[in-house]
């Protein structure tokens, strides 16, 4: 096991060893800290070249994407290279309903976006999940590109390359202001002139969007945890490890794969909707196929199947290029090098899921037994 993951598991073990109230306190402190991160604006961590709140919003949004894709890749073992397609459909559902062709309020647009992506997940998955794994990768890659091309070409519906603007924001409450901290070196000072209104969504301040995205992340993580520890989660694991054996044990593998695919799609749609309402303007350039590749990288870097791992990886892969903007020209080059290095030196991801570690050990043992039974 590599140092990163043993540190990670060490922390997790320490945490589990705490009494119940201790766990709650630790959790609460961490959660509050994470929520207040853009207010605290801590030196070193903050991004000097871009709006820290906006960067954090992107981190949270991509974390949501990674959680969704992790269900597809990490749990069900389906390599989906077209996830950006669902993200785009979610964003455009909000754009079309909320601005371009109707004025539906955002709170209704979001469930609609999830419903539309869920359905498109089923429509794409039903015929394609029967084909072999490698082919699924290319079919989904094609799907992602088809979605973008349709966005460009279906001018009447999507405004084509001009995109959709004036996408509605979530309803604001605007109760009170939260002043930011500013730092002189390592000395903090409360800046009363610079306040974030709680809770007012607008173009000028990304922090309320960050809070919204973060809340969704925690909510979806909770659902994800419930799901993985249920009968559904075990069925996914069985399907991923050995599809034929799972089928023999009475697991309708196809239906469970479809469920994973569609659930992942719906979460992708939710992230897309979030993106649309934050940006208030979308066009097809926001949804190129390169993002699909980036999403897959997040899941693999995080360690497929490990929900916290993929969240951290998504946040890091979003944050690092923003933090080190000076290198922004070369960031895709560095990203590529990092992926290669990862594949060569840390093939299980930075934080492999425990289940995978276990499964690998079991595999080694069964190989010997099989070698005996089948060959000797």
């Amino acid at each position: 096991m590599n140092p990163v993951s043993s540190f990670f598991h060490g922390v997790a073990d320490r945490f589990r060893a705490l009494p119940r109230w201790g766990r709650l306190v630790v959790l609460a402190v961490v959660v509050v800290l994470v929520y207040f991160l853009p207010i605290l604006n801590p030196p070193v961590i903050t991004t000097p070249d871009s709006d820290f709140g906006a960067v954090l919003f992107l981190c949270a949004m991509y974390a949501l994407v990674a959680i969704g894709l992790n269900i597809v890749i990490g749990y069900a073992g389906l390599l989906d290279l077209g996830y950006i397609g669902f993200f785009a459909i979610g964003a455009y559902t909000v754009g079309v309903l909320g601005s371009a062709h109707a004025k539906v309020p955002l709170l209704l647009c979001i469930p609609a976006a999830m419903a539309v992506t869920l359905i498109s997940g089923v429509v794409l998955g039903a015929p394609t999940l029967r084909v072999r794994g490698d082919y699924l990768a290319i079919v989904t890659l094609g799907f992602g590109e088809i979605v973008r091309l349709i966005l460009v070409n279906a001018d009447k519906l999507t405004n084509g390359n001009r995109g959709i603007s004036g996408i509605p924001t979530p309803p604001s409450l605007d109760l009170f202001g939260v002043p930011h901290l500013v730092w002189d070196g390592f000395v903090a000072r409360v800046d009363l002139d610079n306040q974030t209104r709680f809770i007012k969504f607008s173009v000028v301040d990304s922090i309320p969007y960050y809070w919204l995205a973060l809340t969704l992340v925690f909510f979806v993580l909770f659902l994800d945890w419930r799901m993985q520890n249920s009968r559904v989660g075990r069925a996914w694991e069985a399907t991923r490890e050995d599809e034929d054996a799972a089928e023999l044990m009475g697991v309708p593998t196809f239906r469970f794969k479809l469920l994973a695919f569609a659930t992942g799609a719906a979460i992708g749609g939710l992230s897309g909707a979030l993106f649309a309402t934050k940006q208030q303007f979308i066009n097809p350039d926001n949804f190129t196929i390169l993002y699909s590749v980036l999403f897959v990288a997040m899941v693999v870097v995080g360690g497929q199947g490990n929900r916290w791992g993929v969240v951290v990886a998504a946040a890091l892969l979003t944050y690092l290029p923003e933090r080190f903007r000076d290198l922004s020209d070369a960031r895709f080059l560095l990203f590529g090098l990092a992926l290669m290095a990862l594949a060569i030196f840390r093939p299980q991801g930075l934080m492999p899921a425990r289940r995978n570690v276990r499964a690998k050990r079991a595999d080694e043992e069964t190989e010997v037994l099989e070698e005996g039974a089948a060959h000797a």
Binding site: T128, G336, L337, M340
Partner: protein
């Protein structure tokens, strides 16, 4: 519909010419998949590097404005440069991105991640090619080569379009002829090599059963290097044809073409050489007809929809999989 019917042969020949390019790139995907069961995601960048090799060599030789026999010579040099560089890049790719993984038996998804990483590195390195020269202050002298690295670079060759003869109502041009002719020659040579030669048989043996092949004395690593070199050379040839058809290349020219070529390989049955050829031509023609029917904007949608539909009805592609089983 009328557009397609009234220009049927123009669309067919145009589609076939593009199909030839897809097919040659698809060969690289299919060969590597055959012996390694690996989607060489970075193969598209091998193609892109080949296209720049042709541009640079012809720039260096001052090919612009050449006519007659000189032009023919430069064309051949362009092909040779693209094929050599693409083959070298493919070999380097195998060495850096795949061999270390093979040594430790990594699962396919990890190899794909490495491939994706390598693909970024190769295309971004091209997109940032001015940087190292800037450090040494040499970028002014080399502006034609490395200036404006994110923009399109034209092929420095004036190939006049000459209409040669008619196929029904379509007047075939010299470029159609060069592209289709050289593609077909290369495909036949490669097919015969794989079917008849000893090394070709080695490739097929490894694709069918790597352990048994080792027992016969086939050096698997050598076969793998060979497939990367052959695939690279074919992509290089495709790069030169692409330059002749399109006229320019750029650092990200490989991506979409690579996806299409992979589509062609899957369409024909990945791992199957003749399948890749058939898939390439079918895809090229289908795209061409599609753009006539629905407008050129929808060309790519037609291509991918075709892929999805064919996989639904023939999950192993038109000709089935496996390098060796293809005896059609």
């Amino acid at each position: 519909m009328d557009l397609l019917l009234s220009n049927f042969w123009a669309y067919t020949i145009g589609g076939l010419a593009f199909g030839a390019i897809y097919a040659l790139i698809a060969l690289g995907y299919t060969l590597v998949y055959g012996v390694l069961r690996l989607i060489n995601f970075a193969h598209s960048e091998v193609f892109m590097w080949g296209s720049f090799a042709a541009v640079w060599v012809l720039l260096a030789l001052g090919a612009k404005g050449a006519t007659g026999l000189g032009l023919v010579a430069f064309l051949i040099i362009g092909f040779a440069a693209a094929m050599a560089v693409s083959a070298a890049v493919a070999l380097g790719l195998e060495f850096v991105a795949y061999r270390p993984l093979r040594k430790r038996n990594s699962p396919p998804l990890i190899a794909l991640i490495s491939a994706i990483g390598a693909s970024y590195v190769l295309s971004e390195a091209m997109g940032l090619r001015d940087k190292p020269f800037k450090w040494f202050g040499a970028d002014d002298n080399l502006a034609d080569y490395v200036g404006r690295p994110r923009e399109a670079s034209p092929l420095p060759l004036d190939v006049p379009t000459v209409r040669l003869f008619y196929i029904f109502d379509y007047h075939v041009s010299n470029i159609d002829l060069i592209v289709l002719g050289s593609a077909i020659v290369m495909m036949v040579v490669l097919d015969q090599f794989v079917q008849r030669s000893r090394l070709g048989r080695g490739i097929r043996a490894v694709a069918q059963d790597a352990e048994a092949a080792a027992l016969m004395g086939v050096n698997r690593d050598r076969v793998i290097r060979l497939t990367f070199v052959i695939g690279g050379a074919m992509a290089g040839a495709a790069a030169m044809m692409y330059l002749l058809k399109i006229g320019v290349t750029r650092y990200n020219a490989g991506f979409l073409l690579g996806v299409k070529a992979f589509t062609a390989a899957v369409l024909g049955g990945i791992g199957n050489l003749r399948g890749a050829l058939l898939g390439g031509f079918v895809l090229g023609v289908a795209e061409s007809y599609g753009s006539a029917l629905f407008g050129s904007n929808w060309k790519d949608v037609v291509a991918f929809t075709l892929l999805v539909v064919i996989l639904l009805f023939r999950p192993t592609g038109l000709l089935g999989e496996s390098l060796g089983k293809a005896r059609a």
